[in-house]
């Protein structure tokens, strides 16, 4: 039997009586890509922030099971939690500026995660950083350049490299192509897809763009007013949506 790498039970979070997300339960299996869709205010960002440790939910359970080791995410000490986030999780922000240090070179940015988990060999850090720059299609001659000299698409690819270099077990992506020009979206999306396939990544991706979900996600959930209204295999949900709201989404009637 395959054990889910992440199991969420009855997760709720509200802000001053405004519902963020309510009674969310779901499972994610190793190597799966889960897409979360919904219009803005539907709770998808609240959910991903709770799961990745950026927000403290009010109620519910989040259990990670990594290499047969169970972690009760909401019931461990702050230091254990931060360590877990550092070593086992990764978060790709919509705006790469939120996930990078703009006054630190590209190599330093990619290397930071390695150093934070204990790498202390400059040469090794540098060669790994070079390798990853290669993987995300950034010329390795740019390794000592500051991110401010990079284009939007390059910044996003740099952020992806920074996040993936330590081989995290679960990767969260919040609208990873949302802030990019349409012309560069395709390239970044393509890169994510090939990395997912090559490295067999486990990913939760939030997007309002159904094309992104169609391309990347194995499974998807649809959120509305803080709750999950429909879930299933992406192909199934997209081809044959059951809920009226999902039907509207799929037929692009709703502008999400």
């Amino acid at each position: 039997m395959i054990i889910p790498i992440l199991k969420v039970t009855n997760l709720s979070k509200s802000y001053d009586n405004i519902v963020g997300c309510k009674n969310i339960s779901m499972s994610l299996y190793p190597g799966e890509v889960l897409g979360i869709v919904g219009e803005s205010g539907s709770g998808k960002t609240t959910l991903i922030n709770c799961l990745s440790g950026n927000l403290e939910p009010d109620r519910g359970k989040i259990i990670f099971n990594i290499n047969n080791k169970e972690t009760d995410f909401l019931n461990i000490s702050e230091s254990e939690k931060r360590k877990f986030i550092r070593t086992d999780l990764a978060f790709v922000h919509q705006n790469p500026r939120d996930g990078l240090r703009l006054n630190v070179s590209a190599g330093g940015n990619i290397g930071e995660k390695l150093m934070s988990v204990g790498y202390r060999h400059y040469g090794n850090i540098r060669s790994l950083a070079t390798k990853w720059m290669n993987k995300v299609e950034i010329d390795k001659s740019r390794i000592d350049d500051l991110p401010i000299t990079f284009s939007g698409g390059m910044l996003q690819r740099l952020q992806i490299a920074k996040n993936l270099i330590t081989s995290p077990n679960v990767i969260f992506m919040d609208e990873p192509t949302g802030g990019l020009d349409v012309s560069v979206q395709a390239r970044v999306l393509d890169l994510i897809r090939s990395l997912v396939n090559e490295l067999n990544l486990t990913v939760i991706i939030v997007s309002h763009d159904l094309a992104v979900i169609r391309l990347l996600a194995d499974k998807m959930i649809v959120m509305k007013n803080g709750t999950v209204i429909e879930s299933g295999l992406s192909d199934q949900v997209l081809e044959d949506p059951q809920q009226e709201y999902t039907q509207l989404l799929v037929s692009s009637v709703l502008n999400v």
Partner: protein, 296 residues
């Protein structure tokens, strides 16, 4: 305007009574309750090597930034049997060292010395003496900025979290950047260390040449930062490691010269410009050590 009364009528001005001002103060200036509060902070600091203990720093009669933290720590540790040595930049005779020594002479009538071995308590600014410190000596550093992460993150509320969770990755990023830019770690003084394998600590602005002297020292090392209200410590025989990379090990370099007075080749040197042509001379920054060698 109406006359106002004062909150607490302070005893009439002492100057009017012709009393010398300094006899007005307690031994070593600070009152005993304040010393007790500071000693508590020191003990806590010794129990958690490298951890910065907040303390209610007092306003001292010398400016913040001129050694008020060190002076408060010294004043709290000082007993009448102590022999005190004060150095600034390694020397006993620089203006600030003279000024602080006079302050303690005036307020405590304590024995002072310039000879490192004879001192039971040494207060320093920016140097560790060349003569190795020994058991039962207390060595007090003056610290301007106690937070080694301050230059990465100015907010104390954030750096406190980084320390408590050992989130020190960013510190190595700084060293990484130095090497990738210059092939060197650029920090030449106040070079960060890890104490007892736990806390990253600022050793005060001593040259990195002095860093190895902190490791496994038999003396008690205390650090006082008055303006920033922090005390931290290294208990005797504690591991103190300068941060580095395996392939770029810590390098405590110094000027490649010998002292022009005593001929010492392995001491930290001051560079002095001797004439208008810009000719230079190098002499030991530790004046006591240099004198002893010269007179041998």
């Amino acid at each position: 305007m109406r006359k106002t009364n004062n909150v607490i009528k302070i005893k009439d001005f002492k100057v009017d009574k012709g009393l010398p001002f300094d006899q007005e103060y307690n031994f070593a200036y600070l009152d005993e309750n304040t010393k007790k509060m500071i000693r508590r902070a020191i003990i806590k600091a010794l129990c958690i090597p490298g951890y910065q203990v907040p303390f209610a720093s007092r306003e001292m009669p010398m400016p913040y930034g001129w050694g008020t933290g060190g002076v408060q720590v010294t004043a709290s540790c000082l007993t009448k049997r102590d022999t005190l040595k004060i150095i600034d930049q390694g020397a006993d005779d620089t203006t600030n060292a003279v000024s602080i020594r006079n302050f303690f002479k005036k307020t405590s009538n304590i024995k002072t010395t310039e000879i490192t071995e004879k001192a039971t308590l040494i207060q320093t600014r920016h140097r560790i003496p060349e003569t190795p410190l020994k058991k039962k000596q207390i060595f007090v550093y003056q610290v301007p900025i106690p937070e080694p992460l301050a230059f990465l993150e100015p907010k104390v509320s954030e750096t406190i979290k980084m320390h408590s969770l050992s989130e020190y990755g960013a510190m190595h990023v700084k060293l990484y950047e130095d090497i990738s830019k210059n092939g060197h770690i650029e920090t030449a003084y106040a070079y960060p260390v890890k104490t007892n394998d736990r806390y990253i600590m600022d050793p005060s602005p001593i040259p990195k040449f002095d860093n190895p002297k902190m490791n496994n020292s038999p003396a008690i090392q205390l650090f006082g930062a008055g303006r920033e209200q922090r005390i931290y410590a290294i208990p005797p025989y504690t591991k103190v490691k300068s941060l580095d990379f395996e392939d770029y090990p810590f390098d405590p370099f110094k000027a490649e010269h010998a002292c022009d007075i005593c001929g010492s080749k392995n001491t930290y040197l001051d560079e002095i410009i001797v004439d208008d042509a810009g000719n230079k001379s190098f002499i030991c920054s530790d004046t006591d050590f240099c004198n002893k060698r010269k007179n041998k």
